[in-house]
Symmetry: D2
Subunit: 135 residues, 4 copies
Amino acid sequence: MDIVKKFVDADNFAKHLGIEMLEFGKGTAKARMELKQHHLNSARTVHGGAIFSLADAVFSVASNSHGTLAMAINVGISFFKAAKSGTLYAEGREVSINPKLATYLIEVKDDAGNMIALFQGTVYRKKDSLEEILK
Amino acid sequence: MDIVKKFVDADNFAKHLGIEMLEFGKGTAKARMELKQHHLNSARTVHGGAIFSLADAVFSVASNSHGTLAMAINVGISFFKAAKSGTLYAEGREVSINPKLATYLIEVKDDAGNMIALFQGTVYRKKDSLEEILK
Amino acid sequence: MDIVKKFVDADNFAKHLGIEMLEFGKGTAKARMELKQHHLNSARTVHGGAIFSLADAVFSVASNSHGTLAMAINVGISFFKAAKSGTLYAEGREVSINPKLATYLIEVKDDAGNMIALFQGTVYRKKDSLEEILK
Amino acid sequence: MDIVKKFVDADNFAKHLGIEMLEFGKGTAKARMELKQHHLNSARTVHGGAIFSLADAVFSVASNSHGTLAMAINVGISFFKAAKSGTLYAEGREVSINPKLATYLIEVKDDAGNMIALFQGTVYRKKDSLEEILK
């Protein structure tokens, strides 16, 4: 999984948001994001875009964990509860995979284990290897 | 719309991402995001989370433009084309509204007018006025 | 759960499609649909609308199982595999619930246990009791 | 478009639901469904599955109108208003298309022009010609 590690490290946007990848395997990943002032929206709760981005980072690593490039084509996300501070965690698993398409389900929870959001995403799987993409 | 202007200015996350609100009215909004290195993912294209966040900022302003707090409950987004540089634009309109719920459709395009993503989001409308939220 | 049983029996559309509710509890439900010629689309596989409807029947029973009227406001569904014959099963569980909104996840599988579709739906919970609705 | 006409006529499920295709072209389609007792759910309004199926029939024809097989991979649908009687209309257009994937937006309205639902669906485009599928 060295190439997946390199893939994780190359994600500028995740870094800009303070997203840390905690672990990953074939079709799975887990990340966290410690909440800061810059994650908040106008109502002083965590911005939907920040919650989505945390889940999306997990989605990206889980779907690229097979070593070939996966591109997001569709996501549905439900938001359950406003978060204000502390740390958010996102954990994802593969629901379905075939040579062209794969779908992942990612749960976002707060420190206390409350469900914050549920994210269901589908990728199109290209033939390009991650080695090629990252060189 | 002074209170909506104040609402726009209070969005820390949008600022962190360089999202600029260009215009807004009852149920509508338009924004842009100039692409920088920190918007890119591991494949050196714009991160899905950055595209979502741009559309989400428009969704937030359009749905809060009636002066009472609107909270996102669900979003579906389709991604059509990878973007790499230049500026992205998002423009949204109200598809349906009743006292409790409202739905918006937001198109994200690049400089050249190519469709990058389509975002369909629903909010739950609370009774709290924006004045109260922002004071 | 007598009122939920009455609610299940009153679903004309589910009957028209041959959907049988196998079991239900607070926030859960399970149903099956034996595939017939009239479930097929032009490509001779089960129509997306038939698969959605099976999951939607489970969604409806699970979300109305608390005894008050729940109305669907949003659904995201991913389709994984074409089904042609045999029986499809749908099973749902509650992911999140508050006084106004609730979200459910429903898996659709074939006889052999293959994932056919994944359905994520949100309802708006009204105050009307099912007794009132069904009388 | 003779082959698309043949494709429309081969849809058993659409017939079972009383869905009539009114017109279609490259990337577009329009259909109607006269509401009957068998379209109703337990609350005596049109079942979400029936509304979805009407939109899905339009989605299928619009996405197969290019003459090669298109298979639904994801749909997001928002429901705005309960319908009880009269006729529902669904009209769809292509939002984006490339050799592998295409996305469509379908509006469902009632007799009076009220928005009933908005459906956003993505297909995977196979190489098989409709001629081959339908022979």
